[in-house]
């Protein structure tokens, strides 16, 4: 996964002189998660810029550069720090094209690391991507495989609008096939990662892998679960989700973010709204516990949905 993202960035740097990378520790250190390792030597300090610890400045200057005709990739080390840049993201990046009547575009990619499970405690383990997914003017993508990571990143570089490109700290090691030939993955298209007929497990980010594990366990009990990966939170592929539920008649929406006000709750609403007569039970929203993320490993495990919880949820709610 790490290599797929890195490859996408290298391709862009090599093919498009307007592309540059900026963020904390992206240069000399090679990126907090080593995605831009070796980039500084290869592309030089004008294309790979280490920034001060000032997220508002990082995003703000990215917005300005994008308005001026460049295609910046800014890196916010973790989504937790994006709170400092929220005004730049929500009030500037997301609004400028609209408020200028389309005269000015903001082709900006904001790469950021989200999610918990790495023992980084309450302020470094949040999943805030759903907040951004509620903002018109932004796009939010979240790849879960190397194939999607590269395919989506390629599409991001063709975009003229600001995009939040989410990476999960625990997914960098995920392995998978990436074709040598060029391909891309459209933004706004969900994917059935595993077909099944009894229940839809709808997820994004690391929760997709949890859903896949759960589906495997359920299969051993004769329950065929379908795993649907959003890939994009905004725009959301509602049609694919509804289609899946119309096939299976049951759904669990799984995410790491807090259940209260969670993006998954909105998906559950959409499914009730658009597939009501096809449902054999209420859509269940399984999110993270409504607590600041505990540091203690055993408690942290309890706060994030895992495969066993998904299996239990399916069995309790649908009698499967």
């Amino acid at each position: 996964m790490r290599e797929a993202i890195s490859q996408g960035l290298r391709e862009a740097l090599e093919q498009d002189p307007r592309v540059f990378i900026m963020g904390e520790d992206v240069g000399a250190y090679g990126g907090a998660y080593a995605v831009t390792k070796g980039f500084l030597t290869r592309y030089g300090p004008k294309r790979v810029r280490d920034a001060p610890i000032a997220e508002s400045v990082i995003v703000g200057s990215g917005v300005g550069a994008a308005m001026g005709g460049l295609h910046p990739v800014v890196e916010i080390m973790t989504i937790n720090f994006s709170l400092l840049a929220m005004d730049q993201i929500v009030n500037h990046a997301a609004k400028i094209r609209y408020m200028s009547g389309g005269q000015v575009q903001v082709p900006l990619i904001i790469r950021t690391v989200t999610g918990g499970g790495a023992g980084l405690a309450a302020t470094h383990s949040q999943s805030l991507e759903g907040w951004y997914a509620s903002v018109p003017g932004l796009k939010v993508v979240f790849p879960t495989t190397p194939y999607d990571a590269l395919g989506l990143l390629r599409t991001c570089f063709k975009e003229k609008n600001p995009i939040i490109y989410c990476e999960h700290a625990l997914l960098y090691g995920v392995r998978g096939q990436v074709p040598d030939d060029y391909y891309d993955v459209p933004i706004g298209q969900a994917e059935v990662k595993r077909p099944g007929e009894h229940v839809s497990l709808i997820a994004y980010g690391r929760a997709v892998h949890i859903a896949l594990q759960a589906a495997q366990e359920l299969a051993s009990k004769g329950v065929q679960a379908e795993v649907v990966d959003l890939r994009s939170l905004r725009p959301l592929d509602t049609e694919a989700l509804v289609a899946s539920v119309k096939r299976t008649h049951r759904a669990v929406v799984i995410e790491e973010a807090w259940e209260t006000g969670g993006f998954g709750a909105y998906i559950a609403y959409l499914l009730h709204r658009q597939a009501f007569d096809d449902l054999d039970g209420p859509v269940v929203h399984l999110g993270g516990a409504d607590v600041p993320m505990p540091y203690a490993r055993n408690l942290e495990r309890q706060a994030i949905p895992d495969a066993a919880r998904v299996v239990a949820t399916v069995r309790e709610n649908f009698g499967l």
């Binding site: 008649h249 009501f276 096809d278 054999d280 039970g281 709610n317 649908f318 009698g319």
Partner: protein, 426 residues
């Protein structure tokens, strides 16, 4: 603390309710929110929740009895708590009157929600998919056992039910040898008929109320019928004159108004037909309130609102009052007494080109007069066949109240009055 369970108000116009069924017995534990009884209003049977947890210590009003809103019908308390004396004796007598066949359009005002459980239409818990499948396959959800969470009927239950139905042994089709079919010509097999499952349609509240009350009437009230042909020739002429005289006063006298007036005068002479049968006694009603069967616009159903205090009303008064009554029956705005206060009813299908029909008595009333169309018919007058404007009237009578001879006298009186219509003006 002991809590009184009272007859809830389940609609702005509800004054009384009947205990259709107790779902809890004396001594059984109940949880707040649990359904403890089914209450029959004149609109529907509605579930009633407990508003306290504990044990249903006392059932003060048994099933089948109607009591006014607010009357205590039971007591919920802790298992061994002593009960205050006023909560242990069945209070008051059952409400005397039944209300109209079907009452106001089923609108529930907002405040009703605060005082009464919301009437539930679907008493069966089923998933939307299960409901859809049940409808598609004509499955009665009440016959399906739910295995989902909390007993919810889910998809699998419907499939199981359908499989069970198919597995049921088919009716034997053996034909006795040499029977009629053997003699029949060797017919080609009939073309396959596409099986279309019958589907179920939910009844409106009003339809349910009509179904319930007419069933009860036919089960409990021993009906008999007497009929007569009434010569309306003079009445029709008088009606033309009257309406000419009333021209410009915004009221027209109808044939029905003549019939109402004739019935009022006949009821004054034969008050049994204005009485209610109650537990072996006759309740003689001092007022004459004539129920007028009204088919609601748009086929919504039937109501029998009452014209109150008809005894002292002239023909023109009745005409005015019945016009207003029919309008309000359609728009809503009848008073509670108009809903439920009729003492005798008239059902008129004259406008539909009907010769004659027999109507069902609406309890607790003891009679109803059904009239058909007025039209020219051959009659014998002084040994000659002549043409007259006639109408067939059929009186349905509760045999507990009156016998055939009484009924014949009553009907003859109605006929005499209608055939001598000047008497209706007195």
């Amino acid at each position: 603390m002991a809590t009184k369970v009272v007859m809830p108000q389940m609609g702005y116009d509800m004054q009384q309710g009947r205990i259709a069924r107790w779902l809890k017995k004396e001594g059984e534990p109940v949880q707040r929110g649990e359904i403890i009884a089914e209450i029959e209003t004149d609109k529907a049977v509605v579930e009633m929740q407990a508003y306290a947890s504990g044990v249903l210590r006392k059932v003060l009003v048994p099933e089948g009895v109607t009591v006014p809103v607010g009357q205590a019908i039971g007591v919920i308390a802790a298992p061994d708590e002593p009960l205050p004396e006023d909560l242990t004796t069945p209070a008051a007598q059952p409400a005397a009157k039944e209300s109209a066949l079907a009452s106001a359009p089923a609108t529930v005002p907002p405040q009703a929600a605060a005082v009464a459980p919301t009437p539930t239409t679907g008493e069966v818990k089923a998933s939307p998919l299960a409901r859809r499948l049940a409808q598609e396959h004509g499955v009665d959800l009440g016959q399906v056992r739910g295995t989902g969470p909390g007993g919810r009927i889910v998809e699998a239950d419907i499939h199981r039910h359908l499989e069970g139905r198919q597995a049921a042994p088919a009716a034997p089709q053996a034909v006795p040898a040499g029977g009629p079919t053997a003699a029949a010509a060797p017919a080609a097999p009939p073309p396959p008929v596409e099986e279309v499952e019958p589907h179920l349609v939910e009844l409106t509240r009003m339809r349910q109320a009509i179904a319930r009350l007419t069933t009860r009437a036919k089960q409990e009230v021993p009906h008999f019928y007497v009929s007569a042909e009434v010569d309306m020739t003079a009445g029709m002429e008088l009606r033309v004159q009257l309406n000419r005289a009333l021209n410009g006063q915004g009221v027209r006298v109808s044939v029905n108004d003549f019939i109402i007036r004739a019935c009022v005068l006949a009821l004054q002479k034969y008050p049994n037909f204005n009485a209610f049968y109650h537990d072996g006694k006759l309740q003689m009603n001092p007022r004459i309130n004539i129920g007028v069967a009204v088919a609601l616009e748009g086929g919504q159903g039937l109501m029998v609102p009452a014209l109150l205090d008809c005894g002292a009303k002239s023909l023109a008064d009745l005409a005015r009052a019945s016009k207003g009554l029919v309008e309000r029956a359609n728009k809503g705005g009848l008073t509670a007494e108009e809903y439920g206060g009729a003492t005798f009813s008239i059902s008129n299908l004259g406008m539909f080109d009907v010769d004659s029909f027999a109507a069902i008595i609406h309890p607790p009333q003891s009679g109803v007069l059904a009239v058909g169309s007025v039209r020219p018919r051959p009659v014998v007058k002084e040994g000659q066949v002549a043409v007259a404007q006639t109408m067939h009237a059929t009186l349905s009578v509760d045999h507990r109240v009156s016998d055939g001879a009484d009924a014949a006298r009553f009907l003859a009186e109605v006929k005499r009055l209608l055939e001598n219509p000047v008497t209706l003006l007195l």
